[in-house]
Symmetry: C2
């Protein structure tokens, strides 16, 4: 199956340096301004080396995400209070929220928008991107919702996956949108999680 490699092997340090450069640049200058030249320059690599292993900017970004160089701070959901309260805490912590540091928040928002831009091109990359980025957050949400269901805060017939879809979808949409409003997101939580239980 796997042919024995002949000749000089691929440089792992160069590969790592390129993915590191992507991680830094997508936060510093954004996706559009992150050119192949800029990546190569920051990584101390040659442009040709990038072209040799990746076919597009989106594919480099995708690998940086899949390899864990780029991550989103969405996976941590509190379990300290009621389901409603914890979900609202989660929203307040989310990138772009007025509560979080405007510095980090703005960078995270730029990353998310950049990843959305990368995903809008190739559909294969898009699948991997969303799987590795929103996947963990989605799983964490489902887990927290199941906890709430066990505690009787959610009807036992509720579809936790659907509720997680709605929460995550609305949140990301509002991050991509300039109309980000915590209050309206709180309203979505209230609409999805009954007051009585």
């Amino acid at each position: 199956m796997t042919e024995v490699q002949r000749g000089r092997p691929r440089s792992e340090s160069s590969r790592r340096a390129i993915l590191e450069a992507v991680r830094e640049l997508i936060a510093d200058v954004g996706y559009d301004a992150m050119t192949f030249e800029a990546i190569a320059a920051r990584a101390g690599a040659s442009r040709q080396t990038i072209y040799r292993w990746w076919k597009s900017k989106a594919s480099v970004v995708t690998e940086a995400v899949v390899e864990g160089f780029v991550q989103l701070p969405l996976v941590t959901i509190p379990t300290t209070g009621s389901l409603r309260h914890d979900l609202k805490e989660w929203i307040a912590i989310a990138p772009g929220a007025s509560g979080s540091s405007s510095e980090d928040g703005a960078r995270a928002v730029q990353v998310i928008r950049g990843l959305a831009a990368a995903a809008s091109g190739d559909s294969h990359d898009a699948e991997l991107l969303y799987e590795h980025l929103t996947g963990p957050a989605h799983q964490a949400l489902v887990a927290r919702l199941e906890m709430g269901k066990t505690a009787g805060e959610l009807p036992h017939r509720s579809d936790c996956i659907a509720v997680a879809d709605a929460l995550l979808g609305t949140l990301v949409f509002q991050i991509l949108t300039p109309t980000r409003s915590e209050e309206r997101l709180f309203g979505v939580v209230d609409a999805l999680v009954p007051a009585n239980g």
Copy 2:
């Protein structure tokens, strides 16, 4: 206030031709491939004429949207059956749904992704874009939800705006995402609209 114009007035036909070209190109080739040169060529105008009146590609696209040259087919919501049923019909008709023509659907999806890309740049353009694109759809949703509330299909304490936020946000997120699944969107409807009423 308004000074009397001296010299040759701005050509309205040229302006319209440019916005028409944007409408065609954003569906034909997408946002990225829609260059200033391509717009000028299709509009039969000079590149300089575009640069004279718009400062960026996003601003041309924004004006095309604001002036109604580019529209989304999301505003029509059936009122023929139950609230749940009608909302699912609406989702099935939405762009990118497997039910709609794959030809038109793919074009509409490309338009939406292009507009998201345009909005990711300037925040002022983004505000106008989302206001004119999702605004009407949002209003139509709220209206349909209010109808359902009157009919007792929605608790009278429900926040129709929040429910509309969740529905539209989830839908657009799934359009931007390769994981578009009607079934999961139907689950979101079920989670937001109680079975009993």
